[in-house]
Symmetry: C2
Subunit: 331 residues, 2 copies
Amino acid sequence: MRRPTLEAVAARAGVSRATASRVVNGQTTVAPHIRDAVLRAIDELGYVPNSAARSLVTQRTDSVALVVSEPGTRVFSEDPLFSTAIRSASVELEAINKQVVLMLASSPKSHARVERYIAGGHVDGVMLLSMHGADPLPSALSRLRVPVVSYGRPAVPVDIPFVDNDNVGGAEAGVRHLVETGRRRIATIAGPQDMIAGQDRLAGYRNVLRDSDRRSIVAVGDFTRESGAIAMRQLLGDDPALDAVFVANDLMAVGALQSLRQAGRRVPDDVAVVGFDDIEAAKYTEPPLTTLRHPVVEQAAAMVRLLLNLFEGGPTDPIILPTELVIRESA
Amino acid sequence: MRRPTLEAVAARAGVSRATASRVVNGQTTVAPHIRDAVLRAIDELGYVPNSAARSLVTQRTDSVALVVSEPGTRVFSEDPLFSTAIRSASVELEAINKQVVLMLASSPKSHARVERYIAGGHVDGVMLLSMHGADPLPSALSRLRVPVVSYGRPAVPVDIPFVDNDNVGGAEAGVRHLVETGRRRIATIAGPQDMIAGQDRLAGYRNVLRDSDRRSIVAVGDFTRESGAIAMRQLLGDDPALDAVFVANDLMAVGALQSLRQAGRRVPDDVAVVGFDDIEAAKYTEPPLTTLRHPVVEQAAAMVRLLLNLFEGGPTDPIILPTELVIRESA
DNA sequence: CTCTCATGAGAGAGCGCTCTCTCACTCTGT
DNA sequence: ACAGAGTGAGAGAGCGCTCTCTCATGAGAG
């Protein structure tokens, strides 16, 4: 009742195991009629190669770890960017016949687990969706001499190829839009400052405010809706006269819109709101959200290509993808 | 420069490979001082067992496939239930030291890929997040004699243990709430009728309407926001006097709210809206959405336990989890 | 002091596959 | 007709591990 082996196939086809192996692996040095005999045997027996045996000898596993390193669990479920990136990366990897091993690294304990697993040579490479700045994983993994690429620039300077979007440039474009539409008191709800995206988007905001001679008004959230709502209330308390807010991601912007509504502010008449990410929900807020779109699917695909290049010796320079201002009704 | 083998560990500790293996696998028949010597050698060499070699002989892989079988790609990224379920299942599996291999099965081509992979014995078991009714995967996999469990009742009657929430009961509770709050013309935006959740929630709606002597007004969406918006417009055209709508999921409810707003209807004054799922966004709509909560995290965890039971011969009866009506402002 | 028996450790046979090496055979050129 | 090159197929050595079988040792019983 156990699965047929290559040996069985070879026996049935009346050839040696080596020849059967050649056919399975698509080598051309097999005469057509022998090839056919082997293929028929494979078909009749329902033979499927044993991957453990294969990777034992080839030293390859044809699978890649997708490590989602995220301290809290909330963002993962809430933020559609995660699932989009994961899906896109999966699709790309499956296209080149690599399996995706999904690993969640939230606690230090699971960090250790991930490291052990990677060190165990279970995978040919690692793709890191690391959100947290103080994350020890990027450096730990790069030390393991395993091919690693990162989605998003690693917070600590470590020699890992990465793909990111232009957070600074995007934020600048968003805030500039507010300046150009005549807003005077432009606040921001920044993302967590231990995340690169949080830092960079705040930097972009500051750059433009500095150049346009405005005072910066900053509250900090953690990229969740909830925190956006709280931060918005806080900003309204700090400066009731603010007439615009640049929110570092759409999820927080949704929360901010709610707080603005509760405070009786009309958007965009009283307060203009610009988000970041252009998640699907941004189209459905009241009013629809002006935001910065960045190509998540392309970014994930680029990350896969980067990993492939790491395998095959192609270029592995960091890739920065552009963002695009999507103007809807909130600003 | 290659990784140390058990042989190397044994040599360094001055024991046989068999003894080293015993220590690695935690057998107790090793004298303490020998055990220590081996452990020290492991530590010094940084030894990590080669999983390919191990699973070659043990015939186990300690990994489980999580197959997301979903025809369109949109729902996956948009619907937070997917990521929540995936995360919860991952967490549970990691707790019992099983790896999660994520597989997307959207096209027939990828279906074949998944089948081949599963048949290849790469995984000890399969967890199926199958959304589509006509999905050939459940039956195909159950034929492969691989342990399979399903998140959500499979559409075709196939002998696979599954975990689901009480879709019919939940829908009934939601519609009953509308009836009890005095609504007369209660429409529904149903989910796709080739999905069990779509069918069952519509059935629940029909049950209550029949019992309360009301006419049913049905539009069908595909569980996306967009389709909810379209369906709502259609319903308003069909029956401008409707005063309530039960929407088969929150995503479509968000779209419906938008259409209602555009049509100048106040919620809940003119039209009451009840959703289903209680996604995070339901708290942030205008007005916040009354909806049916079901325990996604628990459901995924239960699925993992079911798979474990399949491995170890525990009970594998289907599990139906209850839903709970969460009353907010929309109804 | 010998015999039995539990106990701890080693020898060695695979698990199923790939891949190098070798060899038999056919084909070309002289 | 024969050397040399080219081609297709088999033999066999591992890859790193687990696990059964066997054996050496020493404690306890007679």
